[in-house]
């Protein structure tokens, strides 16, 4: 069982909708991540938050807007998405940012379909 909780598990939204994906962890981790994964592909890094500050933005379009309200929560706000944005969105956390060998713990993901 994962200790990173993502909601909702499934989301269908229209291209004009505004919705949010939510992620929560209570492991005291100070780094949190959003990854996007298309079918049969590896997860692709989107954003990294370190100590509640945006550390890495992998040139993600502005229709994806991350937010880290506190050390336990990470949101991904979605607006004016395109059908090609349909994917599995994975949230993850680690004790500190991952480069020094910290294990990353993943949530089960949110399946997003844009119609």
């Amino acid at each position: 069982d994962t200790e990173v909780t993502q909601t909702p598990k499934h989301l269908v939204m229209g291209m004009t909708n505004k919705k949010s994906l939510k992620c929560e962890q209570h492991m005291g981790h100070r780094a949190m991540y959003w990854y996007k994964q298309k079918a049969k592909k590896p997860p692709e890094l989107m954003f990294v938050y370190s100590y509640e500050k945006l550390s890495i933005n992998e040139s993600v379009p502005s229709r994806f807007s991350p937010e880290c309200p506190n050390s336990s929560l990470l949101n991904l706000h979605l607006h004016a998405l395109q059908p090609e944005d349909s994917a599995l969105y994975l949230c993850a956390s680690s004790r500190v940012q991952a480069s020094s060998g910290n294990t990353i713990y993943f949530g089960e993901g949110s399946w997003l379909t844009v119609v």
Binding site: T2, P43, E44, I56, A92, A98, S99, I104, G109, W111
Partner: protein, 111 residues
Amino acid sequence: SQQGEEDPQALSIQEGENATMNCSYKTSINNLQWYRQNSGRGLVHLILIRSNEREKHSGRLRVTLDTSKKSSSLLITASRAADTASYFCAPSFLGNEKLTFGTGTRLTIIP
């Protein structure tokens, strides 16, 4: 780009056999991790090997690292149907704060 490349892309074996998958990379690393992903689920950390280590074991898993060849392998012994999943390597490159995942190997264990 800094990413691991895995080989083979897909592997099917009989239950009880051993499965080996390989990861190659191009620049120096701090460490390398392996993760498993069951279909449509989150990733689960399996094992981490540091750049000064050559081999590591965890249960039925054995990971090797050859920094001179810039490659790592994951061996799963006595495979079980529950091992059916995608396996990703994740090299942590020197000077790079990001953790990116290799292309993945889809492993199917045939009962």
